[in-house]
Symmetry: C2
């Protein structure tokens, strides 16, 4: 067993992600000291009660003191201000990282806020629809991917320590540049969320179908979308604002494809529909083979547990 | 305990739905004789091996003989031909029903194929992404809704027996007219499937992002859509062809809403995004309170079972 890559980890922002990092570090690297901070006093109190960190500081400057790794776990639009606010507590050798879902804009915001510091942005592709300090759990990152997006001038040894940190939490780590990350996540995460938020909104506004009917008959497929559309609104507002270009590009592709299927339905072109519906099965198989989803029917939802 | 509403149930089409009906009747109404038929000899053999019915007939005419309830469990586009094919085996008092996901076109097809017979279309809002005879299970309908859509001239006593049948399988039954059913399901089921099929196709075709990257990072939200998009292509082709008008109407509403969010992203209108993302949470709460989905984060997927 090698030594932990850091001796004190400071987590700023104690919601689902920050809280899970705190619990995961304590579970996997007991020798590492974990310090937490959240701008919301009620969250700090809850975090103390839940033991999300060994200690919860009252200011981010205080939290930053002594840390050799600071992880910002705030909405991506708040990364720059949160980084600037703790600057005077930082030691010169500290590594700054984050868990934001978009990386280009975060890398720029952190570089502007903390010039001269080691900055290695990261994005664990993990989460649930819950948010807040009581939503976190220690195994959130187990067998999930974490994407690390160092800048071109990053010190490889420092990047290696961040990689080792996430591997110690159970994650599988991949390194890529921030722009490519933002395109990949635009399609695998941001566009799905945008579409889920849209369709749930559409269903709420109909006149021909009541909201209680939508709820009642949601097991026909709709309920899957409502889970994603229950995600944290502030986090997702910031994701769309910060990864605008990649999201709009993917949305354009989606809209073209949807228009094509619309036309096939309107014209009664069953062959075109069948072809499209057949080719999408392979991706599901790939995801299950890669261990990235539950293979049981209906995600193994509890009401079908008698089957599995 | 009241007597079963039918003494012999014949199931035509032994995929996920037909197989589940067969198993559910045997589990809940042991006094009822269950006869099955499928046009595919391999499916018939599999159904025999799995015990989906007490007996599996070699022709649908033979299967229909002696039945007081025939349930057609074939893709909605095949309902009319399947009904016509078994007509000569029917007794005069038999009740004809089905499990199709669209009801207006099915009601017309059955009435054309079997004039003078009792026809009470039904749609159990239940299923998984699996298909085929080995996908069925006896508890598929437990606590799920089944919508019965009798025509205006249907005999209330006959409708009552069909309602009692589905209640005996564990379903909660609602009655409405076929047109309204088709609008409700267009939004709660058909549009979600269309969108899921579309985005999975979009993600497969990108040049900037490889298919293996899409699979790898699917836990960010995309994987939820791939489950739905793994559903049976023939069944869904027929749904879109048969419920065209309602689907196109809902799709129009969705497209307008998506265009509005696209504009908000392009203009950087964070308030509009935040407002939309906030209002969608209530529907999720409603679905969970109604017992129509698993309340655990991430549907209680197995990789998070340590948490729940």
């Amino acid at each position: 067993v090698s030594a932990a890559p850091f001796s004190q980890v400071t987590i700023v922002g104690l919601g689902l992600l920050g809280g899970s990092v705190g619990l995961a570090v304590q579970a996997n690297m007991p020798e590492v000291r974990v310090v937490g901070y959240d701008a919301d006093a009620a969250v700090r109190a809850k975090a103390r009660a839940l033991g999300l960190a060994h200690s919860i500081a009252e200011t981010s400057v205080e939290a930053a003191r002594g840390a050799d790794l600071v992880i910002l776990c705030v909405p991506v639009g708040a990364m720059g201000p949160a980084a600037a606010a703790l600057a005077e507590g930082l030691s010169p050798d500290v590594v700054i990282s984050d868990v934001g879902s978009s990386k280009g804009s975060v890398a720029r915001a952190l570089a502007d806020a903390l010039p001269g510091h080691h900055i290695v942005p990261a994005h664990p592709v993990a989460g649930t629809e819950r948010s807040g300090p009581d939503a976190g759990f220690a195994t959130l990152f187990a067998n999930r991917w974490c994407i690390v997006t160092p800048g071109e001038d990053a010190d490889p040894a420092v990047v290696g320590r961040v990689v080792a940190f996430w591997e110690a939490l159970g994650a599988r780590v991949e390194t890529m540049d921030a722009d490519h990350h933002d395109k990949v996540l635009a399609v695998t995460s941001h566009l799905p969320h945008l579409i889920a938020y849209t369709i749930v909104g559409t269903a709420s506004d109909l006149e021909a179908v009541t909201q209680s009917e939508v709820i009642k008959y949601s097991a026909g497929g709709f309920r899957d979308f409502t889970r994603i559309a229950a995600s944290d609104p502030t986090m997702w507002r910031d994701v769309f604002l910060s990864n605008r270009d990649a999201v709009l590009e993917m949305l354009q592709c989606f809209t073209e494809d949807l228009t094509e299927l619309q036309k096939a339905i309107r014209k009664g072109d069953g062959d075109a529909l069948f072809d499209q519906f057949t080719r999408t099965r392979a991706i599901r198989r790939g995801i299950i083979e890669m261990g990235q989803d539950d293979a049981r029917p209906d995600f193994g939802r509890s009401d079908h547990s008698g089957k599995s």
